[in-house]
């Protein structure tokens, strides 16, 4: 069984800062990581491979630096990796991205199952996986917490507020997963050495003659950002400083009485 995993390299969201003037993310100096949900997708794929045989291929669209993230995926059990990279892809929104990824998957060919993380932690849109299945014309089973494959059928469990939904469909299909599906493994010395020896191939726009150039990059992206803003944090609390104990108590009581939180007089 051949599985393709889609991965995005994102800035480490735990270290993100916003430029207060431009309201955009400060990317400089922020370390990059593999989108955590994509690690769950990879782990799910590797587990299926361990049960059924076959290969796991990881693909990622991004700048050349994303090869680092692909290498990490190779050290976590993937067999092949492709970096989809081209200036023509720059500025793509989720619509264009899913079209490019779908075109790349057609180019790679020969797959039974595609697994994606449910969303990327930097954008949180959760649209790319689902859109890809539409572009490819295959069924989608989203937010899976369990994936099982038997012959040509994939069955997933998906948790809802009312209980567990069990869905089955014929392969090829696309699944998206969250963090509850598994605990991704850690790389070992041997797996890292194995990853060092695998060449990461690149896919450029010219490799895909069938791609519609009107549908990619900034030009192919219908999303327009009208406005971004940072929510203002209301400053709460007031600090009483430089007072003696009695003065502080009186000031506090006065403040609370004034705000009608406290009634009556102090004795």
């Amino acid at each position: 069984m051949n599985i393709i995993v889609c991965m995005k390299q994102i800035p480490d969201t735990s270290e993100i800062k916003i430029d207060p003037e431009t309201n955009t993310l400060i990317r400089a100096g922020v370390p990059s990581i593999v989108n955590p949900y994509d690690k769950n997708a990879l782990e799910a794929a590797v587990q299926l491979k361990e049960q059924h045989g076959g290969t796991v291929t990881v693909i990622s669209m991004g700048p050349p630096a994303a090869k680092e993230a692909l290498k990490e995926c190779l050290s976590l059990g993937a067999d092949r990796a492709f970096l989809i990279t081209d200036r023509a892809f720059g500025g793509s929104d989720t619509y264009a991205t899913s079209y490019i990824l779908a075109s790349s998957i057609r180019h790679i060919g020969d797959y039974d199952l595609i697994i994606c993380g449910m969303q990327a932690m930097d954008g949180d849109t959760g649209q790319t996986g689902a859109s890809m299945s539409e572009h490819l014309g295959i069924p989608q089973l989203t937010y899976a917490v369990k994936i099982e494959v038997e012959e040509d059928t994939v069955t997933v469990h998906r948790e809802t507020d009312d209980g567990v939904m069990v869905l089955s469909t014929k392969l090829p299909a696309l699944c998206t997963v969250g963090k509850d599906i598994n605990e991704p493994r850690s790389a070992t010395m041997k797996s890292k050495m194995r990853a060092n020896k695998i060449d990461i191939s690149e896919i450029h726009v010219d490799d895909m003659p069938g791609i519609d150039r009107e549908k990619i990059g900034l030009k192919g992206s219908p999303t327009r950002v009208k406005k971004t803003y940072t929510p203002t944090i209301k400053k709460s609390g007031k600090k009483l400083e430089g007072l003696t104990c009695n003065e502080a108590v009186e000031a506090l009581a006065g403040f609370l009485t004034e705000k009608k939180i406290l009634k009556g007089e102090l004795v």
């Binding site: 850690s186 790389a187 010395m189 890292k192 050495m193 060092n196």
Partner: protein, 419 residues
């Protein structure tokens, strides 16, 4: 390349480790470097200046391709009191001539470059793995253990830094004493290249190395430092661990003190703090260097305590590189002989003794005792201040007889130094 056993496993991808890896790979040996950080240099720190001579031997004209910051053309030394500075500046023709170059460097970029050079030669690097222990059989080191995974080799080179917990684990080193180690804290402050060249009076591409003694350590044993990089300035303090206690000021406060000193503040005005780091530095001198070989294992770089701190000059990286080179040569000879026993590996210690590394360490042996004289950090700056105030300050209260003052002061100073 086999995956089960290597000729040499190097723990630590810093300058000593990568130098050894580079040479071993060139010799055609199967070498694995295991680095704990996500890339080489991610956990390393220098003040910092690299004296180029030892790397020049391995990669001639390395500065043309390596990410060095500036070639140091100017040296400054200052004695600081709270509000005064007595400064000596040296710019000589020899500082720039071949064989004498030194460069300001930032390790995150520099170590990464050297690691890539070693990888190009065929060394295998794996990152993000911490080696927890060594495989020891019949007293012989046979490989490394990370988690529940083992990897074997004929030789392990421990280039795992100042603490070298692995060398401690197998009893080659003792735990560091507070008197044998210093903590360095550094800020990287961003300015632009033109501003740096203007403020520090430098030609494009040239740099300044500046050491401070006195107020910046609040009288503690240690020094302040400032190095100009391409478009940043590295600035910080180095203080002996033993001497941190007993005073109210904290290490970050000492860095602030240097930044706000009138001799420094206008030079970094408007700069933006872009990085903050701190690291341990071994500074026990020659006597702290342990036996550096055992059956199947060698120590190199900071792990071998190869650092010279003279107050006006701090060296570690050029020693680390040379030790890496000699460790690699020893390993290649051992492979030829098919014998990695302590008897064969002893030639490493001998090679170090014959090199500038141990010669220089030995030459300055005991100097750390001089450095421990607190008068250097307390009385000397104050005396220098008074002396130069008498020379240069005119307040109308009548000239001072300088000859009567300078001469006894100098004599007293010299006597202090000699004692």
């Amino acid at each position: 390349m086999g995956e089960d056993k290597f000729d040499v496993i190097i723990v630590g991808g810093g300058l000593a480790g990568s130098t050894a890896a580079y040479i071993l790979a060139q010799e055609g040996m199967e070498v694995l470097v295991i680095e704990r950080g996500n890339y080489s240099g991610s956990k390393n720190m220098t003040g910092g200046r690299l004296y180029g001579h030892s790397l020049e031997k391995i990669i001639p004209e390395f500065a043309k391709e390596a990410p060095v910051e500036r070639r140091i053309s100017k040296e400054r030394f200052s004695l600081l009191t709270k509000d005064s500075a007595v400064t000596l500046e040296y710019a000589g023709a020899k500082t720039g001539t071949p064989g004498c170059e030194s460069y300001s460097v930032l390790r995150a970029g520099f170590d990464r470059w050297l690691a890539e050079k070693a990888e190009e030669e065929g060394a295998m690097y794996i990152y993000g793995i911490r080696v927890d222990d060594l495989i020891v059989r019949d007293g012989r080191v046979c490989g490394v253990i990370a988690g529940d995974e083992e990897m074997e080799s004929d030789l392990v080179i421990l280039a795992d830094g100042v603490n070298s917990l692995l060398a401690q684990k197998i009893g080659m080193k003792k735990e560091l004493l507070p008197s044998q180690s210093a903590v360095g804290a550094k800020e990287i402050i961003q300015l632009d290249a033109a501003t740096i060249e203007q403020r520090f009076q430098l030609n494009p591409g040239e740099g300044l190395a500046w050491i401070f003694q006195g107020d910046c350590t609040d009288g503690r044993i240690g020094d302040g430092f400032l190095y100009t990089n391409k478009d940043t300035v590295s600035l910080g303090v180095l203080t002996t661990i033993e001497d941190i206690d007993g005073k109210e000021t904290t290490i970050p406060q000492l860095v602030d003190r240097l930044k706000n000193h009138p001799a420094v503040k206008p030079l970094i005005e408007g700069g933006k703090l872009v990085e903050y780091s701190a690291h341990l530095v071994p500074e026990g001198g020659y006597s702290m260097v342990p036996t550096l070989y055992r059956d199947g294992v060698l120590l190199a770089g900071d792990a071998a305590s190869l650092v010279i701190n003279l107050g006006f000059m701090i060296r570690g990286m050029d020693l680390a590189i040379e030790s890496g080179r000699l460790a690699a040569q020893t390993a290649a000879a051992a492979k030829e002989k098919g014998d990695f026993s302590a008897d064969t590996l002893a030639s490493y210690q001998q090679a170090l003794e014959d090199s500038f590394v141990m010669k220089d360490l030995k030459f300055y042996d005991g100097y750390e005792k001089v450095m421990e004289d607190r008068r250097l950090y307390q009385d000397c700056p104050a005396k220098a201040d008074r002396l130069f105030a008498d020379l240069f300050v005119v307040d109308g209260s009548g000239a001072k007889d300088i000859s009567k003052k300078i001469v006894p002061d100098l004599i007293e100073g010299l006597e202090n130094y000699n004692s």
